[in-house]
């Protein structure tokens, strides 16, 4: 059990049901000291319940929860060395900023002078210096968020639990707070466990992401892992727009499966575990990996995939432009290109060739 020293939180086969609803159906997870780990999933996937079990607001029906190696199942929230940032900040409306932030210290009988110093320090870190006397009601949403952070962090918790903390903020403020959270986490080196349904948020902030679905962790990995090598169709779909194609294997060569579609068209997928001819697979490729060029141009060299199609729709997204292409695969494929990429001067109705490298497509599982 020597690894437990590096582990801030360990969950072992944790399960929780509410009546007939199985919210969490067996989760094992280790969160390392100083790590930023995100529980990502749609509403009802069990991510919030998991977090509430770590904090002590729900007790698991089964399984163990260790905080810094200590089994905390059965301990009330006030005896667990973690602190939480709530969705609605949950600032105490009858207290000013200083009393809110100093609340936990006061309960731990930290002397008044020391308390004032620690609160001041933490307010500096969350960039609210000099706001001690303000009441919670006088603060903007972003400021309330910072107070909630300071109130939790000032106790130096073994881990900070954040339950969709940016959900109530507008888009611009949210982006800003994402960077702030990362900065604060680096500055203090605190372990963060972050719950969100926003994949972009998860990808940009996390060291690791646990993608949850239906009470289980579907995949655990770095943002790059999760994004580029999704292991299940759910993960692939949830973590961004994805082109999924149902294909039948025509050739298997070493660890590459090739599907012939039409005249010179092919889909090439690496198959780590091997495949057999005639097998049906779900293959996937990210839109930004798909190159698009007008038909008739010199065909690209290489051993990647190549599919012909007609542009059905062009959607301008600002930095990116999205091309929806009808293909002979029996569905639309989406390609993302930088909007100022002159090479992609195609219009709706044009015949085009889509291509992507062998390594950019993945198998999502058997069909």
């Amino acid at each position: 059990m020597s690894e437990l020293h590096d582990s801030a939180i360990t969950l072992q086969d944790v399960r929780k049901s509410f009546g007939r609803v199985h919210a969490v159906r067996g989760i094992s997870l280790e969160v390392f000291e100083g790590e930023f780990l995100t529980l990502l999933g749609p509403s009802g996937c069990g991510k919030t319940t998991t977090m509430r079990m770590i904090a002590g607001f729900e007790e698991p029906d089964q399984g163990r929860i260790y905080l810094r190696g200590r089994d905390v199942v059965g301990d009330p929230p006030n005896r667990r060395p973690v602190n939480m940032v709530f969705q609605h900040y949950a600032l105490f409306p009858h207290m000013n900023v200083e009393d809110n932030v100093g609340y936990g210290l006061k309960l731990r009988k930290v002397a008044k002078e020391e308390r004032r110093r620690l609160v001041g320090e933490m307010l500096d870190i969350v960039r609210l210096s000099g706001m001690q006397r303000r009441s919670a009601a006088q603060l903007s949403g972003g400021q309330q968020q910072r107070v909630a952070l300071a109130r939790a962090l000032v106790n130096r918790p073994a881990a900070l639990l954040l339950d969709e903390p940016l959900g109530a903020l507008d888009v611009k403020l949210r982006k800003q707070m994402q960077l702030e959270l990362k900065r604060i986490q680096h500055e203090l080196g605190t372990t963060f466990v972050y719950v969100t349904h926003d994949q972009e948020e998860a990808l940009s902030m996390s060291d690791r992401i646990a993608v949850m679905n239906d009470g289980l962790i579907e995949q655990l990995g770095t943002p790059r892992d999760i994004y580029e090598h999704p292991l299940t169709p759910f993960v692939a779909d949830f973590v961004g727009v994805l082109n999924a194609m149902r294909v039948r294997v025509d050739e298997v060569d070493d660890l590459t499966a090739t599907m012939r579609v039409g005249d010179g068209e092919r889909v090439v997928v690496p198959v780590a575990t091997g495949a057999s001819t005639g097998q049906e697979l779900m293959a996937a490729v990210r839109p930004e990996r798909v190159r698009i060029r007008p038909a008739g141009e010199v065909a690209p060299a290489g051993d990647g995939s190549l599919v012909h199609g007609t542009v059905g729709l062009i959607v301008y997204l600002g930095t990116l432009t999205q091309y929806h292409v009808d293909t002979s695969l029996g569905g639309r494929l989406i390609a993302h290109r930088l909007s100022d990429d002159a090479a992609t001067a195609v219009r709706e109705g044009d015949r085009v060739v889509l291509s992507w490298d062998r390594g950019d497509s993945a198998v999502l599982g058997d069909v």
Binding site: Q87, H88, P93, H94, A136
Partner: protein, 280 residues
Amino acid sequence: MNAAVSEGGRRALWSLFGFLLVFLYAPIAILIVFSVNDRTLVSFPWEGFTFRWYRTFMQNSALLLALRTSTMIATVTAIVTVALAIPASVLFVRRRFFGKPFVSALVLSPLVIPLVVFGIALLILFNTLAIPLSPWTVAVGHIVIALPFAVLTLVPRLERIPAYLEEASRDLGASAMTAFRSITLPLMTPAIVSSFLISFVISFDEVVIASFIAGDEPTFPLYLFSQLRLPSRLPQVIAVAVVVMLVSGVLVVASEVWRRLANRRLERQLARYEGEEAVA
């Protein structure tokens, strides 16, 4: 102004309002006038201004004693009622338990039981248990009838205090008791003050139950009733009524002003929480 109300309709509403004002306040105005009219018969004509009646009631020891008894009963009633209503409202709002509808019906039932019936029932009960009638027995009766009002004042307030505030407090290291005391209780204070005043007033002018179980020490309303038989005492009864009215008026207005000031900041924050809940 509301554009949907026509000119004629508006006039009708205003006259209805005026009518109500007159019916509410004319008797009170007349009371004040007669309390300083230098005449034993409570009627016009005006025979000159006097504070005579105020002086006589200040010397009336039986009346002062009744006033003291009632104040004592009302204070005890208000304190005990609030002390019971706080845990009761927490139970109703925050906990789910078996038989909750039954228990809430039990607590609220004094609202629909006629006071006469309840007074007789209490009298029989105290007799059966051989408990001597006293101001304390009156307080017991008043606590029972004031409790539903106090609970109904606290419940809506508590419903507006998000449960996650207490969770946040627990999370930061507070025991369940400390969380309640340092977070929920202060946020409930305005409603607690209101329910205290309501309980006090309910007890102070309650006459039906008191008439059954007051024993030898009459409460203030009981004493007033007993004096109505003696026409000569009427003017000083009126004078004391005016004093009670003014004192309670000042108390209620002052506490209401305080409550509103204390409430304003709180409400703003709670409204914000609710707004976010609606968005989420």
